[in-house]
Structures are given as structure tokens and as C-alpha cells.
Amino acid sequence: MKYLTFMSIGVFALLLIYAAYGLPYRGDPNALVNQEISLTGTPVASSYYIENAMKDANTPNMVTTVLGDYRAFDTLGEEVVIFAAGIICFLLLNRERKREARKQ
């Protein structure tokens, strides 16, 4: 069983290394992710961000503008997820504590 585990890990590692050879180089202008027109024929949003992020929000950091302005609804969702995690932790652990205190 242990040999099977190591063999499957090795095969998976070789598969990943093989797949990494198919990736485009970083900053390659001919790669599909850097094209202005996507595969389905529609224009992609990133060229708009690169051209207009400084003009729209007066912010040199493009990533902040995308996260905080263009995609702010997504950031709101992330924050609500963190808040939900905290409040679920609070509810579960504290209720357990109260139940134990009542028993004694």
C-alpha cells in the first residue's frame, strides 16, 4: 500500500512536470491569455484596466483599483465569507461551552 502511494505521487509529479512544458512563457505577447480578443471573439477587460485604471481612480496600483473599484462586489463577498467564518466559530464553540457549564 505504501509503494502504491509513492508510485501514484511520482506519476502525478511527472504528469505535472510534463504539463508545465506546455505553459506559455511569462509576458509572451502571442499567448492566449495576453490577447485583446478572447477565443469566443469578445474583447477582454484587462486592456481596459491597463489603459484606464490611473485615469478612473487616480491610483497607481492597478490591482487595488481592480479589487476595490471594478470588482468591489467580489471583495464584499470575500469579507462576508470571513465574517461568516468568525461568527460560526463563535456560535459553535460558545454554545458548546454553555451546555457543558449547564451540565455541571
Partner: protein, 148 residues
């Protein structure tokens, strides 16, 4: 889990390091417009500075600068800051989270969006800091109960 450490090196170093980590967290939040950073990263740094004191100090001291009872309410305040900024722009006649309609007088659209991003980063940082500290406190409480 045993509170506090008896080693004077740990006590001194945690006391010296904690304010600097907190200052760096503030820098990461408020300088996020010009350098890598933002609310999530800065909030995690602020939480780490508080949790460092909670791990190192004894039980009488470790809640003096951030009480356990404020954890969840301040997290709710952080989420409400974010939601409120979006809702104000909705009330002023725009879309949800459209910062160009925030009611700050004498600013052009780009500046309004700049300060709108700053406001929501502060909200995110507050929520992340308080929620991480609250999760740590609740887990520690549970651990104390089992050991008794």
C-alpha cells in the same frame, strides 16, 4: 494551553515587536494604493501583532489592548463600513458601490473613487483583524475547557 511564558527573552521581544508589526500593518493598509498590499494583508498583520501578545503574556495582561468581547462586534462594524459605502452611493442615485457619487464636497470623480477605495480597505482591514483575533480567542476558550 498554558498562558504566558516565563522566558524574559520572549516577554521582552514580543513587547518590542508587537507595536512595530501593528505599524507595518497600518502602512500596508493605507499605502495599498501605491504598493502591494491592501485590507486583507494589513488586517492579517494587525491580528498577528495582537495574537503575539496573547500568546506571550500572562492572562492578566493579554487582553488589555484588545478585549475579547469586542471581536465579533467590531468585525460586524467592518462589514457595515463596506456595505454602507456601497449603500450611500446607491441612495445618492448611482449603482451599488459606485464611488463617484459619494457625498464628499469639492472633489472630482477620480478623487472620490480614490477615497472610496480607501474607505472600503479600512473596513476590510478592521473586519479581518477582529475576526482572526475572535477565532483565536474562541478556540483557546474551548481548549481551556477540555483541559479542566
Amino acid at each position: 494551553m498554558k498562558h504566558g511564558s516565563s522566558s524574559p527573552i520572549i516577554l521582552l521581544l514580543s513587547r518590542v515587536l508587537s507595536p512595530y508589526i501593528m505599524l507595518f500593518g497600518m502602512y500596508v493598509i493605507f499605502h495599498g494604493h501605491y504598493s502591494p498590499g491592501g485590507g486583507f494583508q494589513g488586517g492579517a498583520l494587525l491580528a498577528s501583532s495582537i495574537i503575539l501578545i496573547r500568546i506571550a503574556m500572562e492572562e492578566k495582561v493579554h487582553q488589555l489592548h484588545f478585549n475579547k468581547a469586542y471581536g465579533i462586534p467590531l468585525g460586524a462594524v467592518g462589514v457595515l463600513i463596506f456595505f454602507g459605502v456601497g449603500f450611500i452611493s446607491l441612495i445618492m442615485g448611482g449603482y451599488f458601490l459606485d464611488y463617484s457619487l459619494l457625498p464628499f464636497p469639492g472633489m472630482i470623480t477620480a478623487e472620490l473613487r480614490f477615497y472610496g477605495i480607501l474607505l472600503i480597505e479600512v473596513g476590510v482591514g478592521l473586519a479581518v483583524m477582529t475576526i482572526l483575533v475572535a477565532i483565536y480567542d474562541n478556540l483557546l476558550e474551548e481548549d481551556d475547557d477540555e483541559s479542566i
